[in-house]
């Protein structure tokens, strides 16, 4: 549509190593930088999870590889785990990594609309990650007020004893938001303005729809939280009192501002993960997506509804009880568009022809696990049952069942699927399947016990569970969860070996090893700088698999239509 015809300089060949691979403006390099950064942060997030799980299972022992931990350190590690995993792993992995890599390729663009802004987004994210890591070495320790940083615990340093650590946490979060604002502007502009001729909105791959919906939701929700973060910093350092009740402020204001962003954030992460599953499934089922338009409209409906559900996090916060039922209605109503998306995915598999490759297993396993996260959300969306479940391990199990399937299973589906495109080689399938089956059972082994712990009433963020008599019988469930969690970490080791081994020694990949239809598969593996040697032209929907009367069972988006036999005869 708006692709200007211009000579292709293939400038990358003239650039030195530093401009090509370090300070690059190529969206594919930036995407890999994002993937690498999120992997490094995932090690920190994963190790903190290991410490938490060990402490919960065997509180009287010292954590191997770390040492004994005290209650204040426990709170700090819980805070870091949440912050790192949501803001520094899930978002950079699914948006910064896959979004950056795929949006320009899928829409048929040379690069992002604003390549330098894109580079700046990554470098800001690197700075944010560095600030967060630095905060872990602050004199009084890192922030210890939870990833939700409820005021006044996070506001007045006397309550936690943490001064610099909490300030740096606020700074790191604000920088991270800035990084994704820049990224989000790029996603939306690229997908709307740089589409190849013929790539109408209703021919966009669903992954692109999900990424731009996520970007719009993020852009519209994060503003209030950036303001809130600055207000919190002012409270802490300049003596204002936005959130301090002893000086006339209101702690519930923070909760409202936090969750006005915090709940849409769930969909910012979930939608791209769903987008990956939606790309992988039709390819290995050899069947068009069932109800493409229904999925698009449902995605938009999820995005809109996500703005009016935040107060379900606050049913028992002390807000006006009359607000509960309206927010219950909107929250539970999100199940409708999500059910449509899920049903459409399941219907796509009906009478298909499935090859259970590693990416397909991760996509189906991700959907199967996410369903548990989806249905358990109703217990928390219902104002009455939330009185019981709120703040317990039920919440912990629920949100891990939403975030982990989309980030890990969705992300892994994407990694095994697009690895040939990204690195020009293929990952080992057998090890990929082993990786899936062990991860799938161990993940469920971690969090199903925690649902039961939550139904037993045990509150989260408790350092020493034996301090309550009534929860002591639940201890063995924590041991099961921890053993499975350690197993889950261990099975990532062969995956990492497979990943790096395949980059160098994997089977050399062709352009289109999976016989897919979308535009990224028309390019060399890996694609060159500035992507498309000649501007592509799009003729059809992205999921035309197994079209009757054709010899091949796939029909790429850019393949010109054959002259129909009927019109040729005329």
């Amino acid at each position: 549509m708006n692709v200007a015809i211009k000579p292709h300089p293939h400038a990358s060949h003239e650039l030195g190593f530093i401009r090509r691979y370090i300070f690059s403006t190529d969206h594919k390099v930036i995407a890999k930088q994002y993937l690498g950064l999120s992997a490094v942060m995932a090690i920190i997030g994963g190790f903190s999870a290991y410490i938490i799980r060990w402490q919960l299972a065997w509180p009287e022992t010292s954590v191997p590889g770390w040492g004994p931990i005290g209650p204040d350190q426990y709170n700090a590690i819980v805070t870091m785990h949440g912050t790192v995993m949501v803001f520094f792993v899930a978002m950079p992995f699914l948006l910064g990594g896959f979004g950056n890599y795929l949006i320009p390729l899928m829409v048929g663009a040379d690069d992002m609309a604003f390549p330098r802004l894109n580079a700046m987004s990554f470098w800001t994210q690197l700075l944010a990650s560095s600030v967060l890591i630095a905060s872990m070495f602050a004199p009084e320790g890192p922030a210890a007020s939870g990833w939700t940083a409820y005021t006044p615990l996070s506001d007045n340093p006397v309550y936690t004893g943490v001064y610099l650590g909490q300030d740096l946490w606020i700074l790191a979060s604000a920088l991270e938001f800035g990084a994704f604002l820049m990224g989000g502007v790029n996603f939306i502009t690229t997908a709307l303005n740089l589409r190849a001729p013929g790539m109408t909105l209703m021919r966009l791959p669903l992954f692109v729809w999900m990424e731009i919906t996520a970007a719009v939701v993020f852009l519209l929700s994060v503003g209030p939280l950036i303001a809130a973060a600055i207000m919190l910093l002012l409270d802490r350092r300049l003596g204002t009192s936005f959130f301090r009740p002893d000086k006339g402020g209101d702690p519930l204001l923070w909760e409202h501002l936090f969750w006005f962003f915090g709940h849409p954030e769930v969909y910012v992460v979930a939608l791209p993960g769903f987008g990956i599953m939606l790309e992988v499934m039709p390819v290995f089922a050899r069947k068009p997506i069932f109800g493409y338009k229904m999925i698009v409209y449902s995605t938009i409906a999820v995005g809109l509804l996500s703005f009016v559900v935040w107060a379900h996090h606050m049913f028992v916060s002390g807000m006006d009880p009359r607000l509960a039922t309206p927010f219950s209605i909107t929250t539970i109503m999100i199940s409708v568009p999500f059910a449509i998306i899920v049903f459409a995915m399941i219907a796509t598999l009906w009478r298909s022809s499935i090859r259970f490759t590693a990416p397909m297993l991760f996509a189906i396993g991700g959907l199967a696990s996410f369903l548990i996260g989806g249905v358990t959300g109703i217990f928390l969306g219902s104002q009455a049952s939330d009185i019981y479940m709120h703040g317990t391990y039920f919440v912990v199990a629920h949100f891990h069942y939403t975030m982990f399937p989309v980030t890990f299973f969705g992300g892994m589906a994407g990694l095994y699927f697009w690895f040939p495109k990204m690195f020009g080689r293929t990952m080992n399938e057998t090890w990929g399947k082993i990786h899936f089956w062990f991860s799938f059972f161990l993940f469920n082994g971690v969090f199903i016990p925690l649902f039961l712990v939550g139904i037993g009433g045990q509150p989260r963020r408790i350092y020493e569970l034996s301090s309550y008599d009534m929860f002591k019988p639940l201890q063995s469930l924590h041991v099961i969860a921890t053993v499975c969690a350690i197993g889950l970490f261990l099975v990532q080791i062969p995956f990492v070996v497979n990943l790096f081994y395949s980059m160098v020694h994997g089977k050399v990949a062709e352009k289109n090893p999976w016989h897919s239809n979308t535009l990224e598969w028309t390019l060399d593996s890996p694609p060159h700088h500035l992507n498309f040697p000649t501007p592509p032209r799009v003729y059809r929907d992205p999921y035309e698999y197994s079209v009757p009367d054709l010899t091949e069972d796939w029909l790429p988006q850019d393949q010109p239509p054959a002259i129909p036999a009927t019109s040729a005869a005329r």
Binding site: Y150, P152, G291, G318, P321, A324, S352, I378, G457, Y468
Partner: protein
């Protein structure tokens, strides 16, 4: 199935809350089994053992879309049913303010619960009030009204056996109530992260028959009030 895992319910509204939990459990349990069953069945029955073509359908005719939209409408209806059942239970626990002779002021602070009883004059906020730490005594079968206050950060009063959870927010006095239906000692937990001692912010609630409660009241609260006023 759930009941085996949840602690026994011993408040008048506890059963209503549990009822909503069960209602949600059966509804989502049905849809969960249905969708997982279809997912597994479609996936396994479509497994490609030898090359064969998938059935080409795009699900974009109204007839095909109905397979998805009709169940989605059913879900919408059930959602509203959950909302309405939840609303009644919510109103009972959080909006109703049954009259009561027993008013107790709760003050949460890092990392203790303070329960203030009216002294001999029967009024809170006077000099003869008596403070009991971490142990809340209440009579069986009587409405007890609480006023929740915090001295420092947000805490949350969580009594699993009563199905009562309410955040305690500094700068506000948040009302709550309950009526216990079974004598015994139950635990109170803090369920909002409140600092390094959060894990140990444990209290108990002792539900006693009216006689035992009056005896405790006389021996402890009123006696303590008399001796302190005698000392002045």
């Amino acid at each position: 199935m759930l009941a085996g895992w949840m602690p026994q319910s011993v408040s008048t509204f506890g059963g209503k809350i549990d009822h909503v939990v069960y209602l949600v459990f059966y509804i989502v349990g049905f849809f969960f089994l249905l969708t997982e069953g279809l997912l597994i069945y479609f996936a396994l029955s479509s497994r490609r053992k030898r090359p064969r073509r998938a059935h080409y359908n795009r699900g974009d005719t109204p007839r095909e879309a109905a397979w998805i939209l009709v169940p989605a409408l059913v879900i919408l209806g059930l959602d509203l049913g959950i909302d309405s059942a939840g609303h009644r239970a919510w109103e009972l626990e959080k909006s109703a303010r049954p009259a009561s002779a027993i008013e107790i002021k709760v003050v949460a602070k890092q990392f203790n619960w303070e329960f203030t009883y009216a002294g001999p004059d029967g009024k809170l906020g006077t000099a003869d009030d008596v403070v009991v730490e971490n142990e809340l005594h209440v009579p069986l079968g009587k409405v007890v009204r609480l006023s929740l206050n915090s001295e420092d950060v947000i805490h949350s009063l969580w009594i699993p056996n009563f199905r009562l959870k309410q955040d305690v927010v500094p700068g506000r006095a948040i009302p709550a109530w309950f009526e216990a239906t079974k004598a015994g000692t139950y635990e109170i937990a803090c369920s909002e992260l409140c600092g390094f001692g959060h894990y140990s912010m444990r209290g108990t609630v002792v539900v006693q028959t009216e006689q035992d409660y009056s005896k405790w009241m006389n021996d402890n609260v009123l006696h303590a009030a008399n001796s302190s006023s005698a000392g002045q």
